[in-house]
């Protein structure tokens, strides 16, 4: 079942893990993969999958800065992602206010 569009919720962001990723990343410019994974409390593969979905939707960018040592992946919300997340939160609040 898809989300009724008149509710205003974003079906990409609405999924629990992706929502928490967006909520977390909305507070910072970017965060490292392991921090996001630890925040979610899930495996690397689950985290990767959720980040990929957000990236494919244009809401998130993934970068792997080069340098010495292990390459780390950093994630940050795009402008579009921040707007989509803010709209989603506004829709949630409207849902509560309308009860």
């Amino acid at each position: 079942m898809t989300v009724p569009t008149e509710v205003g919720l974003n079906e990409v962001i609405h999924a629990p893990n992706r929502l928490r990723i967006c909520a977390f990343l909305s507070t910072v410019d970017r965060a490292e993969f392991s921090i996001i994974r630890d925040m979610l409390g899930v495996a690397d593969s689950v985290t990767s999958k959720q980040l990929k979905v957000l990236e494919d939707a244009g809401y998130l960018t993934l970068t792997k800065p080069t340098g010495k040592g292990r390459v780390k992946t950093w994630a940050g919300l795009t402008g579009e992602g921040r707007k989509a997340y803010a709209s989603h939160v506004a829709a949630l609040k409207a849902l509560i206010a309308g009860q």
């Binding site: 989300v3 928490r20 909520a23 507070t27 910072v28 965060a31 939160v89």
Partner: protein
Amino acid sequence: MENEQNPEAAPTHDAHATLAAIGGARSNAADRLVTPWWYHPILGLLAAVFVVVYATGDIVAVLIVTVLYFGGLGVLMGVYKEKTGMWINGLRAGRASWWTLPLVVIMVACLGVAYYLHAVHGLDWPAWVAGVVIFVAVNFFGHRFDVALRTQLREQP
């Protein structure tokens, strides 16, 4: 259980739970955004040295200190990111950024006044005073920024 690929419409109790989850993620970020104790003193020192040398030094000294200042900032940022796994731009942190703006104003003002007094009146001591003021300001406003940011993050979304 909610299907991640085809989420159902959220009744209000789910919306409450969802907002609570958002609050949890934000609090998690607040818990992790702990600035290392050495961060602001080193940043303050870099800024202070930059202002003193810029106001009183010759062109070679200014060039060297400029490279060292921005290089030092880069290293500081890199170490912060390595240690916390996160990065936040102090000028784009919502209401907490209000604590960053006075710092920018103070730095520009101190640099301007110190440079003027040295260039026009040949005075060096104002540059040293400016350096001390900037060192203190970076540590004061930096700490206030951290506190404001964590408070902001722990507020309900």
